[in-house]
């Protein structure tokens, strides 16, 4: 997907409701549940065998480079608000291996720029499988979200150098369906076409 450059708009880009975003073309993304068989513990595989998860099938993404930062705006429909135990969440996935469907693997991790409705800011995670995550001590990232007419819009941003040599994907957790860890909907890889400044 194309990454537009907008070097003078950094302040506005952090706001998912900003008019800056409406002038850009969003890429449509298809998501699918992380496979049950890939879930890391027997408990999760047994308990979720008959409980559907990861059913958020469509989202859209827009990416902008500004200064040394990359801004990714995600948007998706979510008609039900969570019950308070689990929050709606989303992540930009960065990596290059053939393992995005399982959110990374034991040998090759992926990075997650992770936002959740019930947390301040964002987490920079390293993921080696569905829910097999560690906090990355690396670069700090940030997130801002808005909910309008049951559509989430979330902007995740971090250093563009984190993305070099990477492809990008998206994961979405539906809080009202108690989704967390590996119980997620995940996209395939999108190649990032960074526009030269």
């Amino acid at each position: 997907m194309k990454v537009d450059r907008m070097d003078n708009e950094a302040a506005d880009l952090k706001d998912p409701a900003s008019a800056v975003w409406s002038g850009l073309t969003a890429e449509n993304i298809t998501l699918a549940p992380v496979p049950l068989a890939a879930q890391p513990t027997e408990y999760i595989r047994v308990s979720r065998a008959d409980l559907p998860y990861g059913e958020t099938a469509d989202a859209s993404a827009t990416a902008v480079g500004s200064g040394d930062q990359l801004y990714v705006r995600l948007e998706w429909q979510d008609d039900e608000r969570p019950n308070g135990e689990f929050a709606d969440a989303a992540a930009v996935i960065l990596g290059s291996g053939d393992n995005i469907a399982t959110l990374g693997s034991d040998d090759i991790p992926v990075k997650l720029w992770y936002w959740a409705e019930d947390r301040e800011g964002a987490l920079n995670l390293s993921s080696r499988g569905p829910g097999v995550v560690r906090k990355n001590p690396g670069a700090s990232i940030s997130a801002a979200a808005s909910l309008d007419d049951n559509r989430w819009a979330v902007v995740l941003s971090g250093p563009a150098k984190e993305v070099s040599d990477s492809q990008m994907g998206v994961a979405i957790w539906n809080g009202s369906n108690d989704e967390r860890a590996g119980l997620a909907a995940v996209s395939g890889w999108l190649s990032l076409d960074m526009e030269a400044s």
Binding site: Q39, P40, T41, E42, Y43, I44, V46, S47, N83, G84, E85, F86, D118, R119, G129, P130, G131, V132, V133, R134, K135, D178, R180, A181, G182
Partner: protein, 343 residues
């Protein structure tokens, strides 16, 4: 993690005949480990009245643990509402309202539909003169087959060298599968720090030779601790006398907190004569908690008690009476005050 640990295992034995439901263990634990605002609903150790719904409300129906083939069983993740928000008292009114003597401290409305750690305390069951109840302290069972640790996707939980189930909070991602998988529902969630939390067996104390707070603070001398494999009251009560039994052993997790089931007086007949054929606490209810072994355990307790009553001597009764309270502490007899003083 190690599924069949060869490591030593710390264990607890709680004598339900001596527990007076004073909640000193609960409070000793609370003030030591869960004082933060975000830990308000957490009672790693709590005493419930049985029969009763306990904490979280109706926890025995929430699933988790393993089936007979050791396959995990789906469990419900207890919510904040299940644990209950606690009591709201009229402190302001009583202490500063200028109506001393007229207004009494009491839980405030709405009382319907609410729950708390000991909401159904002293309720029990049955009709006078044969109503009955007993107290049961509960904490993490530090199971030998910890369903919680096996369910954790991020590998944050493990058995430490002393057999305690502990959690690395830096690794815990707050996914709460442990709370679903634990059949005893003794794991809590910190909604501010986004990590699960549970009884850590006071491991920093254990490592310094100090007994867990619940054991050391018990005024009723009702809780023993020690290594399951080393000589001492814990090993004797569990292995030799076989009077200490796991709670809901059928949950399949091999818990390491053992209970001495409560003996009870005989019920009274309509004419107030004693019905010597029966026990006031129905044995079948105790069997539902502690398994069929409970009948032998109760019989042993009764016969040893009778022996002493007839002027005889009983090693088991001496152990349970715990004439010297240090006997309760197993090898962990160090005084916490000394530890602090010597740094």
């Amino acid at each position: 993690m190690n599924e069949t640990s060869e490591k030593r295992q710390i264990a607890w034995v709680i004598d339900l005949n001596k527990c007076i439901g004073c909640q000193t263990c609960s409070v000793a634990c609370k003030v030591l480990w869960t004082r933060e605002e975000s830990e308000k609903a957490q009672w790693w150790c709590s005493v419930n009245t049985l029969p009763g719904k306990g904490t979280p409300k109706d926890w025995e129906g929430m699933g988790g643990g393993f089936d007979d083939a050791m396959a995990p069983k789906t469990g419900h993740q207890p919510t904040l509402a299940d644990f209950g928000g606690g009591f709201d008292f009229n402190h302001e009114e009583v202490f500063f309202g200028g109506s001393a003597g007229k207004v009494h401290l009491e839980p405030q409305a709405p009382r319907e539909g609410r729950w708390a750690m000991n909401w159904d305390e002293d309720q029990g069951a049955g009709e006078w003169p044969n109503s009955y109840y007993f107290y049961m302290p509960r904490m993490c069972n530090h199971c030998s087959k910890p369903a919680c640790a096996q369910a954790c996707p991020s590998g944050a939980m493990y058995k430490n060298d002393d057999g305690l189930v502990v959690r690395d909070e830096d690794i815990c991602s707050g996914s709460r599968f442990c709370m679903e998988a634990c059949p005893y529902k003794k794991i809590y969630f910190n909604y501010e720090r986004h990590v699960g939390q549970h009884c850590i067996g006071c491991f920093p104390r254990i490592e310094k030779g100090v007994a867990p707070a619940c054991v050391r603070q018990c005024p009723g001398r009702a809780i023993f601790t020690g290594w399951l494999s080393e000589d001492g009251p814990v090993k004797d009560l569990v292995m030799k006398h076989k009077v200490a039994l796991p709670l809901h052993g059928e949950y399949g997790t091999s818990p390491n907190v053992y209970y001495i089931p409560p003996l009870s007086p005989h019920p009274l007949n309509e004419d107030m004569s004693i019905n010597a054929e029966k026990a006031r606490i129905p044995p079948e209810e105790l069997e539902a908690l502690f398994g069929p072994e409970v009948h032998d355990a109760l019989a042993t307790m009764q016969s040893e008690m009778d022996k002493v009553r007839d002027g005889g001597s009983s090693e088991l009764m001496k152990t349970l009476i715990a004439y010297k309270w240090q006997e309760l502490l197993g090898p962990f007899t160090a005084d916490p005050a000394d530890i602090i003083a010597t740094g």
